[in-house]
Symmetry: C2
DNA sequence: CGACACGTTGATTAGGATCAAGAGTAGTGG
DNA sequence: CCACTACTCTTGATCCTAATCAACGTGTCG
């Protein structure tokens, strides 16, 4: 199953270290966690709503997303996950998955047994706190998304999403704040924003025509960060990033 | 500051015990946590977006809600909290509050220092896991709310909210599943569902006229649970309740 | 009894959904 | 190598759900 020559949980460690300082012993213990690595094709599920989860998935490369399907068959995307994310720490600790996890692009995923996660979390409080913190930041982003789909109009909503991606991709080392590739179709953007694909298309065009962004395929170029952040009612506090990365209203 | 003759964190302990078995020593340690008790009047804030949080609030009685205010001034309610809830474990652990916490009714609130929470969580893994679990269930409810405001129409959305309250109030020992008092104005229901007060009013009337619920002031009576759950696309899994309380589609 | 918050209802508007169709673009197989 | 296919993106026309605007009723409390 292993793909790369030196499979490693390094991306996860990077993320955890971001949330809280870890000692050398912590880092060694985290890297020593047992895992199975798999290559997941785009569109494949790694977790399905209702599954009894026994493992957590760490994204080593690629993008994944979590979503729910409601009664009439329409889909709501709940979050986008990228390199280093411990996708689904939630599902695995809660036992029963309450949503789906699906590969957005081809992904390398490390599966870590649930019990190993629990154990290291309590044997090594620094790691435990970083993991808890990670799930709390996840929760914070969910709250922002509730406000986004609940109370912002389509134009503001899209601008907000583009700003969030910009910062998160930058922090993950996957792009520049003002220039990145969005690995999603407009249909997926629609499912993330609670809009229709047609309206996403028009909203993006509007943002483009206003000079806030420019697009080439799925590459997004942010012409004026301050203006886009203002248009998107975006304040980065909810991402709980370190100060030097909270480039919200400043250049 | 103490109000009742025997101030106690018992409601919090009840909630934590619900998520995971605690030993006698765990329970004693939890009840021995230092706290300041205050009586909070309805509409008063206990936490404001942006605050540097130093304490967690435990609701000993009454109802509170968490919300965000977006750029155009409109408000999105993120969750309703009730007796026993450790409102804002998130904000206090993350350090900076990313949303507001406001009393819905008059509340008795116990404020526990943040460091005491962290300490007990790692000294007593059972308690730590229960707290983590609690924040994870919170996250699960947020995810469901994203789907609710993002992809369900007003009728379904309201029915879903009424079902959620029914179960949560019952589990908290504050009402019957088929008959409870909803301590919210229609304006607040609107802010929870991403609708307008006028449309909430009409939607409630529609549910009433269809015979799914009946109302008297703010008392809600659910005429036919199965029908309401079906109308609300409600499946209780996301609440992560124990099996005997997952009365979703059955009687 | 007056003030005020909350609930209710009607009339009209608007933001976004839906329906429909054509234009890239990439992959596939003969 | 090119036709075929399928997916994504784009645009136009129309419809509909929920928002907005407005007014009145009801209950409560000082």
């Amino acid at each position: 199953m292993s793909i790369s020559s030196t499979p490693t949980l390094q991306p996860m460690l990077r993320k955890l270290s971001y949330w809280g300082a870890l000692g050398e012993a912590d880092k060694a213990a985290a890297l020593a966690l047992p895992f199975k690595q798999k290559l997941i094709e785009a569109q494949k599920y790694t977790v399905r709503d209702g599954d009894q989860a026994t493992h957590s998935c760490v994204l080593l490369s690629g993008f994944a997303y979590r979503h729910k399907v409601v009664g009439d068959g329409s889909r709501q995307i709940l979050s986008i996950n990228m390199k280093g994310d411990i996708v689904d720490l939630q599902n695995s600790l809660l036992g029963t998955a309450d949503h789906n996890v699906q590969a957005l692009t081809q992904c390398e995923v490390a599966f870590i047994p649930r019990d190993e996660i629990r154990q290291i979390a309590f044997e090594r409080p620094n790691i435990g706190m970083a993991m808890w913190y990670d799930t709390l930041v996840d929760g914070s982003i969910f709250r922002e998304w509730i406000a986004n789909v609940g109370r912002r109009d389509a134009h503001t909503r899209m601008a907000h999403l583009l700003c969030e991606f910009a910062l998160r991709l930058k922090v993950a080392g996957l792009g520049e704040r003002d220039n990145y590739v969005l690995p999603m179709t407009q249909e997926q953007l629609a499912d993330a924003t609670g809009l229709t694909p047609v309206h996403v298309n028009r909203t993006l065009r509007a943002l483009d025509e206003e000079g806030l962004i420019s697009r080439d395929k799925r590459e997004v170029r942010i012409a004026d960060w301050k203006k886009l952040a203002a248009a998107g009612d975006f304040q980065s506090g909810y991402l709980h990033l370190h100060e030097d990365q909270t480039v919200t209203s400043e250049g």
